[in-house]
């Protein structure tokens, strides 16, 4: 069980950090933005922690209302393993694309965008759904199925949520102090 929780937590952490970069992109027109993107990853990760906490609460609630608590926990682990398997493949492809992008070639980096990051961004919601369906194919009890669905549905609009939060708080939350005081957007 612990391994499954750790794998899912790491995957959620990676997704939230990359989501932070996506939500921050296109909002800062400076040329040098390493510190900005580092902060955007932290911003996404912080909201990811909130999402993980909410997911944990949903799972606790599901276990609490289940008729057979131990059976429900076993089902959660099984469904979680299947979801993690799908999401791990996606994460591996994303990380591989990042590794290829490290090659200092204009063409290689452009190809990683056209063939990799662009389509992968589009596919992200579908991957979450596929992982959910693969997990639910185990036919868990309704309470576990509902919990898994709620968690997956929470992750699908995570990037929309981050965009909304940046709109509300202003891009200054992502800027190093000096840039924030200068007003960079």
């Amino acid at each position: 069980m612990i391994e499954t929780i750790i794998v899912l937590y790491v995957l959620a952490g990676l997704d939230s950090m990359f989501s932070g970069i996506c939500a921050a992109s296109g909002r800062n027109a400076l040329i040098e933005k390493r510190a900005y993107f580092a902060r955007s990853m932290c911003y996404g990760f912080a909201w990811g922690q909130a999402a993980c906490l909410l997911a944990f609460v949903i799972l606790l609630g599901a276990a609490a209302i289940a008729d057979d608590r131990q059976h429900a926990i076993d089902e959660m682990v099984s469904v979680g393993q299947r979801m993690a398997a799908v999401y791990s493949i996606y994460a591996a492809v994303v990380l591989f694309t990042f590794a290829v992008r490290a090659i200092p070639s204009v063409d290689v980096r452009s190809v990683t965008s056209v063939m990799g990051f662009g389509p992968l961004t589009l596919l992200r919601p579908a991957v979450i759904v596929v992982g959910l369906i693969w997990g639910l194919a185990l036919m868990p009890s309704p309470v576990v199925a509902t919990a898994a669905t709620l968690i997956a549905l929470m992750m699908i609009p995570f990037r929309v949520w981050l965009n909304l939060m940046i709109e509300i708080h202003g891009v200054e939350v992502l800027l190093p102090n000096q840039q924030a005081s200068d007003g960079v957007e």
Partner: protein
């Protein structure tokens, strides 16, 4: 629909007096009507949502919107390594200018530079030397003000001017543009290149979308997943659809005294089209030095004539 009938919102919501470069008021209703007449109801809806005062589009709102749109466009330029791509081409062009006897300083002028990403990137990373001047030119005061602010913030050695690129006090040595040439249609395209001639430029490199079967779905994919402003999404896709073919660009550019060619149209010389292709032009006497300076990249150069 004929590609010449497609309209970009950003072309319609601002207007300038060509002689004075002063901003002219834009009638919101007229823009909406024009878009509806072109059958683009979505674009009409986007403009309909823009604020207006007594029927005239709110110029402050439009300026802020255009700055946001250019910021989003910069994201794609960064993702597709456009700054480095430009540098890889203008470095041999500058070498050819120097070896071909063109007098310094070499003034690189980016036409329609917007918030100046290319010029600022070159200033930050180009290491082009003290005899190269980087200038961004645009008709929009707000975009130029933003470009200047961003350049000052990073202490970049470049300048931005609200001006006609072909009527600068100190004329350009080399003209650049990105995503600009498709805005010129028909005789306007030919006239655009003739102005390069009249301005006595030594060379030019214009980057724009390359029309092919994948351009439209590709543009849709990247503009809809990467951009937030409806205007960015709409105009990005329309730009790709309006892009000129290599044949059209060359036919127009070759009505000048420049020797012209397309550069870098395929990935690694495989039958895989690049997102952007580049129209290159230079004075005939610079061609041998340019070929030498290109080195192994000479294989990307198509027939120069």
């Amino acid at each position: 629909m004929n590609n010449d009938e497609l309209l970009e919102i950003s072309d319609l919501i601002v207007d300038y007096d060509v002689a004075t470069l002063q901003r002219r008021p834009v009638d919101k209703g007229a823009v909406i009507e024009k878009l509806r007449a072109a059958g683009d109801l979505r674009a009409a809806h986007i403009v309909d949502a823009m604020p207006a005062n007594h029927g005239v589009l709110d110029s402050d709102y439009i300026d802020r919107l255009l700055v946001r749109v250019h910021c989003e466009m910069q994201r794609l330029s960064e993702e597709f390594q456009h700054g480095r791509r430009v540098l890889e081409l203008i470095t041999p062009m500058l070498t050819a200018l120097k070896n071909g006897g063109a007098p310094a300083p070499y003034r690189i002028v980016d036409i329609g530079s917007g918030t100046g990403f290319v010029i600022r990137w070159l200033a930050a990373h180009g290491n082009l030397g003290p005899d190269v001047q980087l200038i961004g030119v645009d008709l929009n005061h707000a975009l130029m003000a933003e470009a200047r602010r961003l350049a000052a913030r990073e202490r970049l050695a470049c300048q931005f001017e609200v001006a006609n690129a072909f009527a600068l006090e100190q004329p350009a040595t080399l003209f650049l543009s990105t995503g600009v040439v498709h805005h010129f249609r028909g005789e306007g395209l030919t006239e655009f290149f003739r102005q390069h001639d009249r301005a006595n430029a030594r060379a030019f490199a214009h980057f724009d979308f390359q029309p092919n079967l994948l351009a439209r779905p590709g543009a849709w994919l990247f503009h809809y997943i990467r951009m937030r402003e409806p205007l960015s999404q709409h105009d990005g896709v329309i730009s790709a659809r309006r892009a000129h073919s290599a044949a059209t660009l060359l036919a127009a550019a070759r009505q000048t005294s420049f020797t012209c060619a397309m550069y870098s149209t395929r990935v690694w010389n495989l039958p895989i089209p690049r997102v952007f292709h580049t129209l290159l032009g230079m004075r005939p006497e610079l061609v041998p030095a340019f070929r030498d300076a290109l080195g192994s990249r000479a294989s990307r150069l198509e027939a120069l004539q």
